[in-house]
């Protein structure tokens, strides 16, 4: 029964996402939905390292930046087709993730968080200052859309881009679900629960952690690349620590260590500021308050609360 209910919910959500552009009358919300779908991809990655493995990484936006800049620069300098640079972007990000993950995964807990945060700062400073490569704060403009001008799809139309991002988000969510169910995923969860124990039974935990970290970075790189081609403009500002915190927030709010969590959380993170605009100057305070209250009172996020409610409705003890 439980499985059927869950599958039904996923199917309903899928139908909802497919119909969404038809239901939206104000195009602005379609724009936000596309951004939210980019964040779904980034947050699924964040969830792998944060939610499943139990390591808070504060560099997700930095990795999005590496993905975004690699796709834009490869297109600009080597004239490669857009679909290829989008595919290469996560690979470039992976290289950086291996280089940074190796030293930072030697330390645990808060150490790890701070070291990754330092990496995000370093990425930001380099993007700002390496002017010859990145054009600094002025940013890169005119990043092309995936299809050329004579493509059979009108890529300038936001509806088209929406379905493009939606398909990738579905694929990546599916992939995350596969990873989690695999033996690797189970090992990651074991690391979260008791890393020493995992080490004690002779599993090289660091390999699994590095895998989670690099995969998470590749998700971010892909999200960044898709973002870059959608907005046609990138500059370092959008890949700072504040945005990495948004990725963390998305996972926590949605439901850490669940597949549906990052999906819900990403939409939450993108749409919440819209509804807090009435209190513009209080927004930061409210944002922080939501984070604190959510962690204290619903540590398992929206998905956790919904699960409890569902169990209650069904009359089963949660």
């Amino acid at each position: 029964m439980r499985w059927n209910g869950k599958t039904l919910l996923w199917a309903l959500a899928l139908v909802g996402f497919i119909l969404l552009p038809q239901l939206i009358t104000v195009k602005y919300y379609l724009h936000l939905s596309i951004l939210a779908l980019c964040w779904v991809i980034a947050a699924q990655g964040q969830n792998l390292i944060q939610g499943y493995t139990g390591y808070v990484s504060i560099v997700q936006a930095g990795f999005m930046g590496i993905g975004a800049y690699s796709t834009a620069l490869m297109g600009l300098h080597y004239d490669l087709p857009v679909w290829l640079t989008i595919l290469l972007a996560p690979c470039v990000t992976a290289v950086f993730a291996v280089l940074t993950g190796y030293p930072s995964l030697r330390v645990k807990g808060h150490y790890f968080a701070v070291v990754t945060l330092a990496f995000n700062l370093v990425i930001f400073i380099v993007l700002m200052n390496w002017h010859d490569l990145t054009q600094g704060e002025a940013g890169i403009t005119g990043i092309p859309k995936p299809g050329g001008k004579d493509s059979w799809l009108n890529w300038r139309d936001r509806g088209t881009y929406y379905y493009f991002v939606l398909s990738i988000a579905i694929l990546m969510t599916g992939l995350a679900a596969l990873i989690v169910r695999s033996r690797i995923g189970q090992t990651l969860i074991a690391i979260r629960q008791n890393e020493d124990l995992v080490g004690a039974i002779g599993i090289a935990a660091w390999k699994y952690k590095l895998f989670a970290f690099v995969t998470s970075a590749m998700y971010a790189g892909l999200a960044g690349a898709i973002y870059a081609h959608y907005q046609s403009f990138i500059n370092p500002e959008i890949f700072g620590v504040a945005q990495s915190l948004d990725a963390i927030l998305a996972v926590i709010i949605g439901g850490s260590g669940t597949i549906a969590g990052p999906v819900i959380g990403a939409f939450f993170v993108v749409f919440l500021p819209e509804y807090l605009r009435f209190a513009d100057s209080f927004r930061l305070i409210l944002y922080g308050l939501v984070l604190v209250l959510a962690t204290i009172f619903m540590p398992r996020g929206i998905v956790g609360v919904a699960g409890d409610l569902w169990a209650k409705v069904k009359g089963k003890p949660s």
């Binding site: 330092a118 990496f119 400073i125 200052n129 930061l284 922080g288 962690t295």
Partner: protein
């Protein structure tokens, strides 16, 4: 040679601030295991408040600092009781995320109360000393001396007083400390009041010597954590050595290598230390 000496003096002022911030972080971390991310913003709150009392109410600086210390202390206690205590026994990730949320809230409060323009706490110290070609402004000297005094006071408190010993006992072995009759519910409050007091002092120093503006506190707390990693988490001598090393490294990097990448160089130094000595310069293996 004068240039190197001057750069070391330059780095000592900001290094002193780093030490104070790091001491606040390291006591909280060592005893409660919390990465108190909001510490930088709370410190800046203290600096802002001092500025406000001096400029708007015309209070003398010393009195303003005293009031800021008390209010900052209350804020610290409030944060511990309302935010950190509920997640104390939960997964460490939760405490970390609460800390991030608190940072946003305190930054938001600062913005709401004190605005987005930078503020500088006015002082009367404008003389500049010149010792054999090395120049040092009066105010900078006082900041370095005050930092040294506070560090000494902190060390004496932890080493010599009964409360200090209780704090160290909890840091070393929580369960044993409980058995010895240490009250583990009041210790966090003491720790937060010490930590916040040091933070407020750092905030005042930053506000007088440099400026307080949105985002400065967050930047400082990141440097504070870098100091902890450099020096060794939970270690007081580590925080002192790490803070000075970081401050002076930054000054030398900016002066002799590249001013654009001075922070990158400082972070790379931190990561190198981590690779060679994961427990930090002064940490226990």
């Amino acid at each position: 040679m004068i240039e190197i000496l001057q750069q070391i003096i330059n780095g000592m002022a900001i290094g002193g601030v780093y030490v104070l911030i790091a001491l606040g972080l390291t006591t909280v971390f060592g005893i409660l295991g919390i990465a108190h991310f909001a510490h930088g913003s709370v410190s800046m709150f203290g600096g802002y408040l001092t500025f406000f009392l001096v400029v708007m109410w015309g209070l003398p600086l010393a009195l303003a600092i005293l009031i800021a210390l008390v209010v900052g202390f209350l804020l610290g206690v409030l944060i511990e009781l309302l935010a950190y205590r509920p997640v104390r026994n939960a997964n460490h990730i939760n405490a970390f995320i609460v800390a991030l949320g608190l940072t946003m809230m305190v930054e938001g409060l600062n913005l709401e109360f004190f605005g987005h323009e930078q503020v500088v706490i006015p002082t009367d110290f404008s003389r500049v000393f010149n010792i054999g070609g090395v120049t040092i402004p009066e105010l900078r000297l006082y900041v370095i001396l005050a930092a040294a005094l506070l560090i000494a006071a902190m060390t004496i408190f932890v080493e010599k007083t009964k409360t200090g010993q209780a704090i160290r006992a909890v840091a070393e072995n929580r369960d044993a400390a409980i058995l010895m009759g240490v009250n583990v519910n009041t210790i966090p409050l003491v720790v937060f009041s010490i930590s916040t007091a040091l933070g407020v002092c750092a905030g005042v120093m930053v506000g007088a010597l440099f400026a307080i503006a949105p985002g400065i506190g967050e930047g400082l707390v990141v440097k504070g954590f870098a100091v902890l990693i450099l020096g060794g988490l939970g270690s007081i001598p580590g925080a002192v050595v790490g803070g000075l090393v970081l401050g002076i490294t930054e000054a030398l990097a900016a002066g002799f290598i590249s001013s654009a990448y001075k922070d990158v160089i400082a972070f790379v130094a931190m990561i190198l230390v981590l690779l060679v000595r994961p427990q930090g310069l002064m940490g226990k293996a």
